[in-house]
Every structure is written in C-alpha cells, then in structure tokens.
Amino acid sequence: MSAERLRLVTDPVELLEPQLSAAVEDSPDGERRLRLPLSRIDAAVEALALRGGQLAALFPVTAPEPSLLAAVAFQGDLVALRAPLDGAETYPSLSRVTPAALLPERELHDRWRLTAVGHPDLLQAVDPDPDRFDRRIVGEQTFVIPYGPIRSGVFESIQYVIETGGEDVLALHVRPFFKHRRLEQRFTGLGFDHAVQVAERVAAIAGVAHATAFCQAVERALGVEPTRRAQRWRVVHAELERIANHLDVAVKLAEDAALAVGVARFGILKEQIQRLRAQLCGSRFGRGVLVPGGLAAPPLLEPRVALAVLDGFERQLRRDRRLLLGTASFTDRLVGSGALDRETVEAYAGIGPVARACGIAADARFERPYGAYVRVGGRIATVDEGDAMGRLRVRFHEIRESLHIIRQAFERLDKYGPELRSDLPDARGAAFGWAEAPMGELIYWVEVAAGLVRTVRISSPSLRNWPLFAASFRGDVLTDFSFIEHSFGLTPAGADR
C-alpha cells in the first residue's frame, strides 16, 4: 500500500536544515533525527505539518543530552526533532500548529515542569480532582453530568464531563489520568527481562503491542534483529490480540444496543480467541511471549492445531457478523453516530481504526513495516463513513486481514531455524520502537546502557485519539454516548500509563 503513495520530492532534511539550523544525527533505519534549537521547534513541526506530517509524540528525553523530542510521522518515516533543553523550562507551544499537542503539553507541564508558552488551556491534567471541573458553557440552559471516574458498567476509570441541555450533548471534556501509575519511571534501572514485564502491563489489552514496540526499540537501539521464527510468532500473537480487541468492541456495542444474542455470540468468539492465546503461551493476554531479542519460550501449541481452531472460528465469525450487521435495531444506533470528518481527524493526528474509518490509510504495519510485516503483506482496511458504523466495519475488515496475516505467518515457519532469541550486545543506544496496537500506532522511545533500561517514553494511541472522541459529538444525544465511546475502542490504562 505504501508503495502506491506518491513520495514527495521534498526530504525533511532538505526542508528543515537550512531554514531552521537543524542538524542531522545518526539514526537507525526508518527514523530521521534532526537536532534543532528549542525556539524553532514549533516552526519545524509546522513546516512538516503543512506538508502532511502528523505529530506522533512529544516528550523529554535524556540521550544524548536532556532534550525535548517531537516525533512527526512524515511520509512514512518518523522524523524525530530533538531540541536540547539546556535547563530551559519553557518552549514555544506546538498547539498553534496542531491541536494534537494540547493534551501532551499539559502532561509535560504536570510531570516535568516544562511550560508551553502560548498554550490556551494549561490546566492540570495528571491526577485530576474528580470534584473540580470547569464548565465551558455559561447560562442556565445547560447543566453538567460528570460521568466517571467510576462508570456504569465494568469499565476502566476515566471521567467525562458532559455539558448537556438534558438530552443533547453540547460539550464534552475528556479527563484521563485518573489511573496514572507512573509506569514510565518504573522501567528505569531494570534489566530487559524485567522491563518487558512492565511494558506488557502498561495496557493489558494491548500488551503484545506494547511488548513488541518496547522490544523493537531495544533491538533497534542495540542494532540487533530478532530471529525470523520469533518475528513470525510475534506477528501471530499481535494479530490474535487485534482480533480479540475488535471482537470486544463488537460485544460492547451489542451490549449497548441491548442485543443479548449479539453479546452472547461475540462473547463466545472472543472467549475462543482468548483460550487459543492461553493454549499458545499460557496467558490469555499473550504475556511472557516477547523479550528483546526474540521469544522468551517456545510456543505450547502446534501451528496446524492453531490453524484448525482459527478455521472453525472464522466460519462462525462470518455467520455471526452477517447476522449482527443485518440487525436493523443494532445498526440504526450506529449509523450517523459520532461522525468525524477527515479534516478533523488529520488536524488532531488521529490514528488507528478511528482514522481508517474516515478514509485515511494509515497503518504502522504497512507504512513502517517492522518485524515479519516486512515480508508478510496485508491490506489497510478503510471506509469513508467516519461514523460509529464505519469504525465497526473497519474492525471487521481488519479481523479478516488478521486471519490472513496469521496464515501467512505460519506458512513459512518450518523453513526457519529453531532459534528463538538473538543475543543482545552490552552497548548503549537510544531508539524508537513502534507497533500497530489495536487502537492505533504505539510508539516507544527507549534508552539503554550496560544491559539496563535507562529511560522509556511512551506515546499511546488512546491518548492521541481521546480529543477526537470529544470532537465527535455533533448533534448526538446522550443515548448515543456509549455507542460512540465503545466504537472508539480506547483504553484508559494505556493513555494514563
């Protein structure tokens, strides 16, 4: 797919170097690193954004010196703009360039005391007070429903402040960071075996993706490639995780529509996948599979047995999917709810099924192929509708693609050597690692030295997409709320870290 995209002539290095006194630095494949002065960082991001770049991450790093790093996804590469801090505590805000920077800059302010000058709304984001929130709409016609942090159902904790006139939702603010467990700090000083355990537990439902991104970052920092066999198994686990997540979204949507048969049938399908994962590795969430360098242990199930299970699963899924999408009382609730247009998604740098439902063909597996995705192909599933129905349809397409990818991954397995794990040298380095989590692209920045992890920074797709959720309420009413929320399929644990 990425081959079809026209590559512009302009190279970011050519673009930025003369204008902004940027200097190129060494970087592994797939990344372009530029060093520039702190005062020009907003101009650099703007220059890239005007040509289609999207702000993917913004965090302070410590290698090679304390700096502010802005990662921009530009023409298939990750362009890392590193601005040395030199003890500075302020920097020009990127929010005037892209609204995708609003929430990360508030987090930077709370966690590292870095103030973005020119940010319109620098309120506290981390560890919010559930009782104190501001109303944005004045007047007596509206009132506030603080939905959360403890919500109505078995859901993760996050607070939504809904300003409504009674039924119509006029404004919505998302307040994450109630579950801020400070896990990024937990990585510091751990050996790789222990650190990957932390990575898996940042967001359990995307644990394989987190472990993949973390391991990939370590491997790229040390210049090591995992074994081919390990790469294929990583792909299998990642795709199984994606299928489980998408089925979970279908279950939640059916539950919102009070379609009990839908809940039951898709609950059965999801349970089959979770049990398959447990048979493959002992954990229903794919834990203990990945380590930097390859796999931690040999798989517990033969590939042909797993394929047989997946064949039966696919037959059932096809019929259940046809029934679900043919139930008018279900689809009527989704069509037209939470509609997003392409411009808004691009402005907020939205990713994942949310962006693909608006026709944006962005998928880290195929734009910046990593691991076995370099050799295993697939199609990026997009639709044009942009509403909750579109997101569900994108997810069903992706399930079909995932099954196809798993079959391809198993095909050549016997041709590879039995080694599961490559050795890791005792070097120092710092690199990005990325993976396409079920919610969107996940980016890790890992700095390693002497066999220990020094710094980890995470850019979570859930956090990137949450402002889009607030922006997707146009003319929707309160009864549509859970449909739209579940159609986004985001996880507060990943966003809050």
Partner: protein
Amino acid sequence: MIEWIARGLRTGIVTTRYPKRPEHPPAGFRGRVDILEADHGMPHLEATCPTGAIHVNEDGRVSLDQGRCILCGLCVAADPVRFAFAHGYETATRRRASLIAGEPGADALEDLRATLGERSRTLRRSIHIRHVDAGSDGGEEWEIQALNNPYYDMQRLGFFFTLSPRHADILLVTGAVTPAMRTPLLRAWETMPEPKAVVAAGTDACSGGLSAAVETSAGGVDAVLPVDVYVPGSPPSPIALLHGLLLATGVLTREAAA
C-alpha cells in the same frame, strides 16, 4: 431472529459446570506459581522476581508471595525444580497471609470477617457486584466482563453486576489504588449498604503489583479498604474470579491450596 436461535441451538451448551465440576486449565497455563522445594534456597533467587515476591530467609527457606506474583514465569524458567505453575485456576484466599506460599502454616492469627453468607441468610444466592477500577491495567476488566459470557455465565450462580453502589453487596476492586482514584473508591464503599464485602481482584489490587515500588500508589486495596477475599493473578482468570466471589459469599469455603 430465528437464525440467532438456530445458531444458538447448534452451538449447544458451552457453559462450564464450575463449581460443581472442577475446571482444568490447558497445559502450561499461568494461574499461580507454587513452590515445589522450599528449602536450600540461595539469595540470588530474590533477584529473578521483578516485583520482589520471592523471599529467601537466613535459613535458606524460600517463600513466594502470590499476592505480589505477576506470573511472569522468570523464576520458573530460572529454577524449574523449585518453582512451577500450578495445575489449577483457583487462586483466591481470605487472608493476606495465606497468599505466601512456602511459609509454614499461616493460620488463624488474623481475625477473619464473617462471609456475606454468614452475616445474612438471604445473601447466598443472589449477590450484586459493583466493580471499581482503581488503577488497573485493563486486563482484569476483560476477565470480569468475561464472567457474563456463555462460557462462565455467573448469573446461573446468582451473581449480577449492578451500576449503583447502593444496590451492591460486593465491591470488586481492581488495580493498585492510584492517588486520584482513592477518594472515588472510598465514596463507593461508603455508599454501599451493610452487609458488604470487598474482593481485591488481581495482583495489583492484592499488593500493588508493579506499582508497589512507586511511593504514590497505595500499595494494594487493603491499604484503603478492609479486604475480604484476595484473588491474585495477572490477570486472574474468570474461574479464579468465580472462586473468589464464591468464597466471599460463603458458598465455597475451601481456599486455594497455599
């Protein structure tokens, strides 16, 4: 609608018979780590565990705090003679001390609260559960939601999820309590009428898990609320959760073998 019914009939009954018949996990399933050989342990064993669950005392006696174990399997891989994954799903206990495997007879030194079933005759067969996420990683929520799918169907045992704490009998808490979730969790507890019980689901809830080392987390639910049943696991499987819930209501009295 007929097609749904036809598909359901063709699938048949998939519901487990637990607790009437025991349910066995697949080979290699990570539910609980047991100590096979507790003596003659070397101090370096403590470093294999990322959460510090393994303790070797001066006599060389090895103990594993299952309340801190995140089931990473590193100790099993390092010393398979001494550590192994148990062949069962059940992990729940009513005393925190019972979670420490290898410790000789952690017995009735703790004052146990009566189970819900003992406190109220009517609360044996119809229990309403309010779940609160106090900072989990999201996995426990999936396993708790799985309790309602046709495989586990907790409603046949009389358990129901409720949305309002005023209707709840059991508070099912996941996650080590983060600072921001502490007050909402306490409010949920206050709003529940007597008799009520707390079930801490997941290793994070039992002891703080990976977050325990960070000073800002409370270090487990029992730092904030009186816990009746601990269900360790990372995350605990649905059967383990059912076992824990049945312990809390007093339907089951046998705890997981420590």
